[in-house]
């Protein structure tokens, strides 16, 4: 049976940029529906107790209180002690009157002769476009509506309370930056909802300007604390100045915590992306300049048992349009209300004092001889900011509470035989027994916990019970037959803009990628383990010296640096740490300074290396693509699309079987990783546009190195893929 996935009904239109509008548009409809529907359906809470460990449930716990009562309750969050209270509109006025804006306007007028009045008008327009309009009215309305709506689709929202008391105190003494992970549109509303629920001040939030254009929604978001930043404003000095001053004005006066997403955008692949530093360095400048005593940075990990956007993300990652829905918006909303999206976990990590963090590395007194409005970051400040950003991402990952479904997804994606049919295929055709799956899940859960992952695993239930629960939540992806076998559901054929991709391949890819999203959520736990496993299982020798292992480990870290978050300075520490862990769990056997290969190729290392294999395969195909196409310079887009086409062809011919390698994000990371390793180099073309130059020698070195670790098509296949290449690509390139 082909069943539409409820979340897909949220997203009428294809384009990722427009999808935001639909999510929120649907929320408005939800509101309408909620207001006329009578009462809410409360779910059984068996797997979602009110309190577990340090986590407290905030969606249901007000049994005596009505939603109206709750949303109108007295709400007195702590306030920054040096805050001079002001209306949102006053922020804009203060920004326009600030020395830096006055200075920038004068400077620009001197540079290009445009009149000061015109520039001032421009500045005013930018501030107007940017400004938030946070008010308790909108917050209370959201609190009311979301309580109703979410209780329909979520079993529970858990918030960990261990750092909340401290955080409430800190909000009084210092400006606070809330830095949540960003994996769903929901994050934004969720954070404000959580803050309201746990009596933290509701934040102002940096949002992408694409939300803004949506009628009605834009102003609703402004009222709930969003301020809008254009995605691209590279060399616009005035815009840059206004943006930084706007953020800094909020930090300096501590009107409210400032929330933004370090990764810049939603991580569609569900694993952390490299940090964007613009907002963070702007927000930290008041500390560097001594305008505030300290700033506290709070990493927050948000995880959803099931994503509202799961299929949308799969389509976006493949770069294909999503099929249009025909039913009306209201009906869709009604459909969503019947969906089951499991739990949400919001984990506040320990707040980081910027002062303590920078104490040793930064001398703030270097700013003493320049006027304060002159923006300047010392080399040390830039380096420390970068390092803080990476640490925050790592903390977010650490805080994230994984869903058992991530384990299931990882297992379903595993291929039983290299080159053969994977569980994913099997589970579509013949299914996997629940008991078999439960056993695997249990094993993977142990590994996860051994290597520091956190998982939502309610006590007192058997693995099978937990498995069945999570399978129910994801019944749009999998079904359980009467014979207790798990089947993967079929997806419609998918048409792609890229002519090289045929609809059947893409349909399989959508299914795989949807699973990969959830698998990706747990990869950070195993990222170092996986790299060691790749080296060990790929080895042709009887033993590997630690030195060689370390070299190859380094190579992989460098190569995969855009796909995973590593602290470059911690490479040795991470290496030793993971070896120790692997020895303790008998995943590797070490004698003197050597790893013995035969006993070290075992269930754990094989499983882990297979989990990371697709990444290397994609990198390898990309290398092959560049090596077989002799061009003086490349655009990144051409490389990615060409490689995607090549991958599709190879998948069609059965030479490869990891459909997730078609992900555009993965390929883009691969290009950047190869740039980092020096196999591709950036240069400026004659017309001034940036272009890329492939370096064949380095590329083939990387390809050979990869081929030594994972299974890739052999040389015999070479003729075949060159033939494959010739057909679809000649038309395009």
């Amino acid at each position: 049976m082909i069943r539409a996935i409820p979340s897909s009904k949220f997203f009428l239109h294809v384009c990722a940029k427009q999808s935001a509008g639909w999510v929120l548009g649907d929320f408005c409809r939800l509101v309408a529906l909620q207001l006329c529907s009578s009462g809410s359906i409360r779910r059984a809470m068996s797997f979602s107790p009110k309190r577990k460990g340090t986590y407290e449930e905030i969606l249901h716990h007000r049994s005596q209180q009505s939603d109206v009562g709750w949303s109108l309750r007295s709400y007195t969050p702590p306030q920054y002690r040096y805050c001079s209270p002001r209306r949102p509109i006053d922020v804009g006025t203060a920004v326009l009157a600030s020395p830096i804006i006055r200075h920038t306007v004068l400077q620009l007028s001197e540079e290009d002769g445009s009149s000061v009045e015109r520039l001032e008008q421009e500045a005013e327009a930018i501030v107007k476009e940017m400004g938030h309009d946070l008010g308790m009215g909108a917050i209370r309305l959201f609190a009311f509506v979301l309580s109703k709506a979410w209780r329909r689709i979520y079993k529970a929202i858990y918030v960990n309370s261990e750092h909340l008391t401290k955080l409430q105190g800190l909000c009084k003494d210092y400006p606070v930056l809330l830095l949540p992970s960003h994996r769903s549109y929901m994050d934004f509303l969720l954070m404000s909802y959580v803050c309201f629920a746990v009596n933290l001040p509701v934040p102002v939030i940096t949002a992408g300007a694409d939300f803004m254009s949506m009628k009605g929604v834009g102003s609703l978001l402004r009222k709930s604390g969003a301020f809008f930043i254009r995605r691209q404003f590279g060399s616009d000095k005035l815009y840059w100045a206004i943006f930084t001053e706007y953020v800094q004005s909020l930090v300096r006066n501590g009107d409210a915590p400032v929330e933004f997403f370090l990764e810049g955008t939603r991580s569609r692949a569900q694993k952390s992306m490299g940090p964007k530093l613009g907002c963070l360095s702007a927000a930290l400048e008041p500390y560097f300049k001594g305008e505030v005593a300290d700033i506290y940075v709070v990493p927050i990990g948000i995880s959803y048992d099931r994503l509202l956007e799961e299929t949308l993300y799969a389509y976006e990652l493949l770069g294909v349009p999503k099929p249009k829905e025909s039913t009306s918006g209201l009906l869709k909303a009604r459909h969503v209300l019947s969906g089951d999206y499991g739990n949400i976990h919001v984990s506040f990590n320990a707040p980081i004092s910027v002062h303590e963090y920078f104490r040793a590395g930064v001398d703030r007194s270097v700013h003493a001889t320049l006027p304060r409005y002159m923006s300047s970051h010392s080399v040390e400040e830039v380096a420390c900011t970068q390092s803080l950003a990476v640490d925050v991402l790592l903390q977010q990952q650490k805080a994230i509470v994984l869903s058992p479904w991530s384990l299931v997804a990882a297992i379903l994606l595993q291929h039983s035989q290299p080159g053969g049919m994977g569980v994913a295929e099997r589970s579509q055709l013949e299914g996997v027994g629940v008991a078999e799956l439960a056993e695997e899940v249990h094993w993977l859960k142990l590994q996860l916990e051994n290597f520091g992952g956190r998982i939502n695993w309610p006590g007192g239930y058997t693995t099978e019970a937990i498995l069945m629960d999570t399978l129910t939540v994801h019944s749009d992806l999998v079904s359980v037959s009467n014979e207790n076998r798990v089947y993967l559901k079929h997806v419609d054929d998918v048409k792609s803009k890229n002519a090289a991709l045929d609809p059947v391949t893409m349909a399989t890819a959508v299914r795989h990628l949807t699973l990969a999203l959830y698998r990706n959520q747990l990869l950070h736990v195993f990222q170092n383990l996986g790299l060691v496993a790749l080296v060990v299982t790929g080895s042709q020798e009887n033993e590997i010296s630690l030195e060689d292992l370390y070299k190859k480990f380094m190579f992989l870290r460098n190569l995969l640096c855009k796909d995973f978050i590593f602290r470059p300075c911690d490479v040795e520490k991470d290496f030793n740490g993971v070896l120790l862990g692997m020895k303790h769990t008998n995943a590797i056997v070490q004698e003197n300074n050597h790893i013995l290969v035969a006993p070290s190729v075992n269930k754990c290392t094989v499983f882990m290396s297979r989990m990371f294999e697709p990444f290397l395969v994609a990198y390898w195909v990309l290398c092959q693509f560049l090596l077989t196409h002799n061009r003086a310079s490349w655009k990144i887009r051409d490389i990615i699309e060409g490689t995607q086409g090549l991958e599709a062809a190879m998948l069609n011919h059965g030479m490869l079987h990891h459909y997730e390698i078609l992900s555009l994000e993965l390929l883009s990371n691969a290009v950047n990783g190869l740039i980092h390793c020096g196999a591709i180099c950036r240069e400026k073309a004659a017309n001034g546009n940036p272009s890329l130059l492939a370096k064949p020698f380095e590329l083939s070195k990387v390809a050979t190195e990869i081929a030594s670790m994972v299974t890739v098509p052999t040389c015999d296949d070479a003729a075949a893929y060159v033939k494959i290449l010739a057909v679809p690509l000649s038309a395009k390139l």
Partner: protein, 614 residues
Amino acid sequence: MLNSIEKSRKCHGKVDCHSTSSQSSVTGSLPKRRQDLLKWNGWGYKDTEFILNEKLQVELTGTRYKLSGMVLPLLKDWMLNNFNVNLDYVRPAQPEFSAADLPSPVINKPFLEDLQTSGLEHSLDCHDRLFRAHGHTLNEIWALREGSFNRIPDLVAWPTSQVEVMQMVQLANKHNVVIIPFGGGTSVTQALECPSTETRMIISLDTSQMHKILWLDEENLTACLESGVTGKEIEQRLASRGFCLGHEPDSYEFSTLGGWVATRASGMKKNIYGNIEDLVVLVRTVTTRGLLEKSCNAPRTSSGPDLHHAILGSEGTLGVVTEVVVKIRPLPECQKYGSVVFPCFQDGVSCLREVARQRCAPASIRLVDNEQFVFGQALKPENNSLVQSFLDGIKKAYLTRWKGFDINKMCVATLVFEGTLKEVEAQEKRVYETAGKFGGLPAGEENGERGYFLTYLIAYIRDMGLQYGIIAESFETSIPWDRVTDLCHNVKDRLRRECKAMGMQHEPFASCRVTQLYDAGACVYFYFAFCIRGLSDPVKAYEEIESAARDEILACGGSISHHHGIGKIRKKWLKQSISGVGVDVLQSIKRTLDPQNIFGNGNLFDAAVPISKL
């Protein structure tokens, strides 16, 4: 009178020709045996201290101050509430040291013989020596009350004139003996501490017997004073002739003119009279190479870098300041206190900034923060009049209820106006008008006056605190206007934070005031106190916290010091403050003027010490 001035001008400072001033200078305000008049182990006069009377109320003893003999009924509770102290927990000071408790003097025999032959007055008495072993830095007072000294001066000398100072310096130079000039002894930077590694004999050169006004020139409004004269003495004697100097640092009862020059002192009324560098016309300094002086009393010269500035702030490392020609002013017709309350500190700072912008500051204007405002209220003397307390209640209600002031945020600016009646009226009007623009309300003369009295009594209060396990200290800085408020917030935060990091259970008292206004910035003065119960080494804890606070000050764009100086406690930041080249310049001046490091008190930086002749 005119005659005598003519005469004094001719004698060029050699003899005091004026009979009245010569009479009053027979005994200076500081006797040779200072410990007879002043506390040996605390601040100020022996007869003046804060005690808990039998009713367990704080009372100020003696008769010297306006509050003397009065009861301060609110102070004890303020202390109990702010420091979590317990009156049962007392840390009494140790009994006075006997000779056996003190390091025995290092004697350079040939020097001592020469000194005895010369007839210069001196003493080897252990209490005389101990009194000159310290200033009033916290750890020095602590050493007196609960600790001990490794090194104290070996001999105290009392020259009575520049000529005698020159003799002393020559002798010291000849025998390679260290001289540490000692004025009022009010240093708070450990500048008077004897370097513990010094093996040579150390002479404390006490200038207190050089306290004469050598001449006074009414036409040019200048006076030549000997360097050992205290501020209070100067003002009293000049006042009797209808003049004033107008230099009133908080320590002015005890600190001396020479000390002011040596530390680049700043006076409370600098807005009218200027800081010490603005007041001096000519400075005579005895160095090991001879007398350093200028040739005329001209108001300003262009003759290469101003050598006065090498001496100003030299902290006793280059020589002994012996005579100073200063500017004097006719006594003002009228002096009036005033005060303004502001809803919050930021408003107060904005107002002060505006006053500085308009250059309409009265003689003194100081803004104290909320903590100090509350503390000031706790210093109100006992009120016997029902009417008065009723009125106080109404005032408070008016501010908080009617004007919406938050008692936990409001702060007060204290004012001193000086000039002719008309001038004072005009100043008052302008200042109160400006304050009004920032939400300030005039709060009466009494509040202002109490604010200034607090300044003179604060060190006495510190002594009482020590008795109950509270240690307190002050430090200061100067900073551009746009950073003043942030500096105050950040430094107070840093103090609280460091205390917490040391495991202190109770928040410290961290407070500040803006005390001086300049065109480009202000001077900020911090008070900091905490309860030491449970700390194994309270003084070390204090020093670490102050050091962290200074780092914070520099990070905020503040200076290493506005007027206290470097001494020994801030040496580590000197290079950062004036660059490596700057330190080299100072080093080379030191090498030229004092190659043997006779003036070896070790302030500012570590001088390259020559091989000892002993």
